[in-house]
């Protein structure tokens, strides 16, 4: 029930903000702030009330009929990964409202309506487990985002918005076709129509075409290498909060989709496709980083760093082991904060200097030391400095990827050098060197300081104490089929030299564990192997009806 509340709160709050906007602009701002703060409160409550049910990954949820004729259901379920991403959504939601406080002066009510609708759509995407509902939410977050860019963006906003819309919409239609195809396959096999994710698991594990339908949609959103070109335009032209939401949340829906749908629904096809996908991820990492270095527009540059950072996520998902997936989850959160902060910074600079052109900046540290320090922090986060969230993520991802494919992981690690180059080059051009701009721009305001402080705290927390995040995501990731769980062939035991030596002898063969090889070959025994590898881990993801009703009863009056 609380998941419905989370979405309704945002939708109704959005409507309220629209109405309030007719009365006065600041009423709309305050309404939106209160709504997002409530949202944060609800999410906090969600964390407090966590009690995982036995044998089921779902922490909260609701299952109800929606369009019974087509057996489309209203299924909202949340596991650890969803919970983390919902938390990110709630936090970034508050920040997005705060970021827009001064920047948006026209049609404020409608602006906040759109903003809150995007948030509602994102939360829907993170929880919807009826594929039809998922598609609806996917579109729900697309259209208000389009309006945000097209109405409140910068000079070339219309073209950018249309580009964004076309890419997302076309790929979304491919996904719709794949969803229908999947439901049809299920119908042919069982004679029952359903869009229930849990029922569709295992329907077509090896169907490459259906998987590609989903993959293209998620790859566009992610964005993965050849389909990334909408992102720089959309980011550059979007208002600051739009960029923040785009980078912080909308891109994460692509990553989430890969983890939630591609791997569980099509484990064999994904395994067969993995080398290509991982290669695309690595190309994205390097290509994005090189292009980021070349840009002269601050926001465009940050947009390309997003391409680079989310290449890591693509690499991680198709590395198909627990370490990499954990890394992907942390990367989603860390990237949301670090890149989001860089966009907010770009917005703050644009407000003060009326330009995003890095060639016209320089020596800003002298004028705005506090902003310089903030920029330094987030540039370090972007280049993956240990102690900050991005490092934990990239370390786990690269480790997992190394386990799956050594040369690709090594190439991806070169991306860290490229990241260093663009991050330092950004600092050098904008903040160091002699003062280039006249006038005395104001250093950070308290509101902006608050925004950055929240993001810095989040990154430090992710970097130094990531364990709660890892623990929250673990039960959900454990159940992703085809994912191998251990680091090395060497299974750790009590740390005694004798034992180490004894088991070490069995290690003196190539690093790849047998499990991974099975997965790569698309061997039919993947599931069995995965179970064997899991040992005492609970049963695979439940089919429809198992486990979920208990949650609903426990959560009280779900229907």
């Amino acid at each position: 029930m609380i998941l419905v509340l989370l979405i309704l709160n945002l939708l109704l709050g959005g409507g309220l903000a629209w109405l309030a906007g007719r009365w006065s602009a600041s009423a709309a701002r305050w309404t939106a702030l209160v709504v997002t703060l409530f949202e944060l409160l609800f999410v906090g409550l969600l964390w407090l009330r966590l009690e995982p049910a036995e044998g089921s990954p779902w922490l909260a949820g609701i299952v109800a009929d929606w369009i019974p004729n087509f057996s489309v259901k209203l299924i909202l379920l949340m596991d650890g990964v969803s919970l983390l991403l919902i938390t990110l959504t709630a936090v970034l939601g508050v920040l997005a409202v705060l970021v827009s406080w001064r920047e948006i002066q026209e049609n404020v009510g409608f602006y906040y309506f759109n903003l809150l609708c995007v948030l509602a759509g994102v939360i829907g995407v993170f929880t919807a487990l009826d594929l039809f509902l998922f598609y609806v939410c996917w579109e729900l977050m697309l259209i208000p985002m389009f309006l945000l860019i097209a109405n409140w963006g910068h000079a070339h906003r219309k073209a950018a918005a249309i580009k964004f819309f076309l890419f997302t919409q076309l790929s979304g239609l491919l996904m719709l076709v794949a969803i229908l195809g999947l439901a049809l396959t299920h119908f042919q096999a069982t004679g029952a129509i359903t869009f229930d994710y849990r029922a569709l698991l295992g329907t077509a594990p090896g169907s490459l075409w259906l998987m590609l339908g989903f993959f293209v949609a998620f790859a566009v959103k992610l964005p993965a290498f050849p389909l990334h070109t909408w992102l720089p335009d959309a980011h550059t032209e979007a208002p600051t909060a739009g960029s923040l939401l785009l980078a912080g949340l909308l891109l994460k829906t692509g990553a989430y989709g890969l983890i939630r749908f591609i791997l569980p629904l099509f484990p064999e096809a994904a395994a067969a496709f993995a080398p290509i996908a991982m290669t695309l991820g690595v190309i994205g990492i390097l290509y994005g980083a090189v292009l980021a270095f070349a840009q002269t527009d601050f926001k465009r540059m940050v947009a390309y760093t997003s391409v680079s950072h989310l290449g890591f996520v693509l690499l991680a998902v198709f590395a198909m082991n627990l370490l990499a997936l954990q890394g992907a989850v942390v990367q989603m959160l860390a990237h949301g904060f670090s890149t989001g902060a860089l966009f907010v910074l770009a917005g703050a600079l644009q407000e003060r200097l009326h330009t995003r052109d890095l060639r016209r900046m320089g020596g800003l540290w002298t004028l705005m030391p506090r902003m310089g320090a903030v920029a330094l922090f987030f540039a370090m986060a972007a280049l993956g400095l240990p102690g900050l969230g991005n490092f934990v993520a990239e370390f786990l991802i690269l480790l997992g990827a190394y386990r799956a494919n050594m040369p690709l992981a090594a190439l991806a690690a070169v991306g860290l050098v490229f990241a260093t180059i663009y991050a330092l080059w950004l600092l050098q051009r904008a903040f160091y060197g002699p003062v280039a701009s006249e006038g005395a721009p104001r250093d950070l305001r308290p509101r902006e300081t608050l925004i950055f402080a929240v993001m810095m705290a989040a990154l430090l927390w992710l970097g130094l104490f990531p364990q709660p995040v890892l623990d929250a995501a673990a039960p959900a990731l454990h159940r992703v089929p085809g994912v191998s769980l251990h680091v090395g062939a060497y299974v750790r035991g009590p740390r005694s030299p004798a034992r180490v030596r004894e088991s070490a002898h069995s290690v003196a063969r190539p690093e790849t564990a047998p499990l991974a090889e099975h997965v790569r070959n698309g061997d039919g025994s993947v599931w069995g192997d995965a179970k064997a590898g899991r040992g005492e881990a609970p049963a695979p993801w439940g089919r429809a009806g198992t486990g979920t009703s208990t949650i609903d009863d426990r959560r009280g009056g779900a229907r």
């Binding site: 292009l291 400095l385 690269l398 903040f431």
Partner: protein, 629 residues
């Protein structure tokens, strides 16, 4: 007592936080107390702990303290764990003590700088990160410190950020070391996949059982770790960043680019000595890199005219000695040279700083001279440091540490005569360039008049370091000169000793040879740069020596080569593709549909009768299809 070990890195971090957030609101006096105070407190705790470590060592000569569990997933468990053993005790003491002295010195050196609190904030952050590096129990904590010191190095090289060339030097330092760091990171992955853990003691215990000597995986791991070490310690082929790093304030050069951070690579190899022992090929490469670096850098130092760049090349060269020692398996000798080098090189840099300070930022040694009488305190301490660097026999710490390395290179089973010969030649060159510097700066006629003398905050650290540079060597002396083995027996609990021993006669013969080389170098410097300076200058002006001089001045042209090989292609690639050639496809798609749209819209004339004709023709065509099908 040991449980207080967490205080050692935490206190400098606390100092950093305090200075970073409140620094601008604090008076300079408060900053001058907090900055050095934090490091001083850390040094005090470290010394107390070390004292107890000597008096009542913990079981197995190792103490672990887990602060919290950092990452535990998928069979990998990494704790935020600190580790105390003789190796980290030695490193920790040197870092905190030398760091404290340099902080005190910097309160005077930086007194007129506008970024006073920022400077001490960065310096404190550096000390904290460096301590994490040496106290980390697992490779991930080590890596955290490793990158942390890299960050501080970047920040402090570019401390005077208004000059673009300082920023360029800072970026170069960070990027070049980052290349090494990536190799190190991949090495970590290899170790995790192989051993399922990053805990250093566990890896060291498991490695000999898992890998045979010379196993490909062991060699790969050692080479990758070596990549990281080479980057951080400015060895071939990643040495190019260190001379440029002298753009930072001089205390930074002393602390980061001489005494501590650049020795992190030496520490890494010594720490993971068991892995390198399994990879003789990699170990030999360490020795060769060390020997080649020490010679190339020493030659380069001969041609420099910037005081700090001479010292920078000298640092690279001395680090080459440490790598040479590691390469022949003389772990303790490397650490011994690290310690003495930290003392005398910090001393030399601080002395150079005092000179530069009183000459109002003059760094060219050819515009100095005769400072012996005007700056006596600096002269005598600098001379002590120079003697130690040149390894003047018997009375200096540098002699004992360098001699140990040369001896090890000769007798070690993995050493050879070539490495020893390179070390000996290096000793000669070291003496030559060191005393070239001393004679040009302090002797001869005065060229630039100094303004004032350094105060006690600068001279007292100089004197303490001078004492350490002279006396610090007596903790470890060769068999024929007392045979004290305090240092190696202490470190012997963490690092295996050298397998081979030579006879005292051999040892004495080698000492005699190196003494001759050192004294010869000093004598040659005296002849060339003091007695016959004019003749030297004339000879150097001839074409051939001048070309050689310019090659050496540019550090053998590595910068030029890397610029052509890596920098320009990268920048070219980036600028050519600035507008994203992938997007060209999508833009082309958009343009094609616009074109098609234009063509079709031309048919839409708005003319009613035209439509009617089209309609009629269409119907007729349909009818024709239906009828004549």
């Amino acid at each position: 007592m040991y449980s207080l070990i967490w205080l050692v890195p935490i206190v400098p971090f606390a100092g950093f936080l305090l200075l970073a957030f409140a620094g601008r609101y604090l008076p300079r006096r408060a900053v001058a107390i907090i900055g050095p105070g934090a490091v001083g407190l850390s040094a005090a705790v470290m010394l107390l702990i070390s004292g107890q470590f000597l008096a009542a060592p913990p079981a197995g000569y190792a103490y672990e303290q887990t602060l919290w569990s950092w990452i535990a997933t998928g069979g990998l468990e990494v704790g935020f764990t600190l580790y105390l053993d003789p190796l980290s005790v030695v490193m920790g003491c040197v870092i905190t003590v030398v760091g404290f002295l340099i902080h005190v010195y910097a309160t005077a050196y930086m007194a007129e700088d506008e970024g006073y609190s920022k400077f001490f904030a960065y310096m404190n952050l550096f000390v904290g990160a460096m301590l994490l590096l040496v106290l980390g129990q697992n490779l991930l904590v080590l890596y955290l410190g490793w990158e942390g010191v890299g960050l501080c190095s970047y920040l402090l090289i570019g401390f005077w950020y208004k000059k673009p060339e300082n920023g360029a030097a800072a970026m170069k330092a960070f990027i070049v070391t980052r290349i090494g760091d990536v190799a190190l990171l991949i090495g970590l992955f290899l170790l995790v996949v192989q051993f399922g853990t990053l805990d250093i003691p566990a890896i060291l215990a498991a490695a000999p059982g898992a890998w045979a000597v010379g196993a490909p995986a062991a060699v790969a791991a050692a080479l990758l770790l070596l990549g990281g070490a080479v980057g951080k310690s400015a060895q071939l082929p990643l040495q190019t960043w260190l001379p440029d790093a002298m753009a930072g304030p001089t205390p930074v050069s002393a602390l980061i680019h001489a005494a501590t951070m650049v020795t992190a690579g030496v520490y890494l190899i010594a720490r993971l000595h068991a892995l390198f022992a399994l990879a003789p090929g990699a170990l030999l490469l360490v020795g060769i890199i060390g020997a080649a670096t020490l010679l190339l850098a020493a030659f380069s130092a001969l041609a420099q005219h910037d005081l700090k760049r001479i010292l920078a090349y000298s640092t690279i060269s001395q680090l080459g000695y440490m790598f040479l020692a590691l390469g022949v398996g003389a772990w303790t000798a490397a650490l011994f040279h690290f310690m003495t080098h930290a003392f005398f090189k910090a001393l030399l840099f601080l002395g150079a700083g005092a000179i530069i300070h009183s000459l109002r930022d003059e760094q060219n040694i050819f515009r100095m001279g005769g400072l012996r009488r005007r700056l006596p305190a600096v002269y005598w301490t600098f001379l002590a440091g120079a003697l130690a660097l040149a390894a003047a026999p018997l009375i200096t710490a540098g002699f004992y540490s360098k001699d140990l390395i040369l001896f090890a290179a000769w007798v070690s089973p993995v050493g050879n005569r070539w490495l020893w010969g390179a070390g000996l030649l290096g000793a000669f060159l070291t003496a030559l360039y060191t005393f070239r510097m001393v004679f040009l700066v302090f002797h001869g006629p005065e060229r630039t008049a100094p303004h004032g003398r350094p105060g006690p905050a600068m001279t007292v650290p100089l004197m303490i370091l001078a004492l350490l540079s002279l006396l610090g060597g007596f903790v470890e002396t060769p068999a024929d000169l007392g045979g004290v083995h305090l240092f190696s027996s202490f470190l012997g609990h963490a690092l295996p000793g050298l397998a081979a021993h030579g006879s005292p006669a051999l040892e004495a013969a080698l000492q005699l040879l190196s003494t001759v080389a050192v004294l010869g170098g000093i004598a040659l410097a005296y002849q060339l740069y003091l007695r016959r300076r004019e003749a030297t200058a004339r000879w150097l002006a001839r074409p051939a020596p001048d070309a050689a001089r310019r090659l050496l001045l540019a550090g053998w042209g590595f910068d030029w080569l890397y610029d052509r090989l890596f920098v320009r292609p990268f920048v070219w690639l980036a600028t050519v593709n600035k507008d994203d050639s992938v997007d060209a496809f999508f833009r082309g798609l958009a343009r094609a549909s616009l074109l098609l749209h234009g063509a079709l819209s031309r048919a839409q004339t708005g003319n009613l009768r035209w439509y009617a004709v089209g309609f009629a023709l269409g119907v007729m065509a349909l009818l024709a299809i239906v009828v004549f099908r």
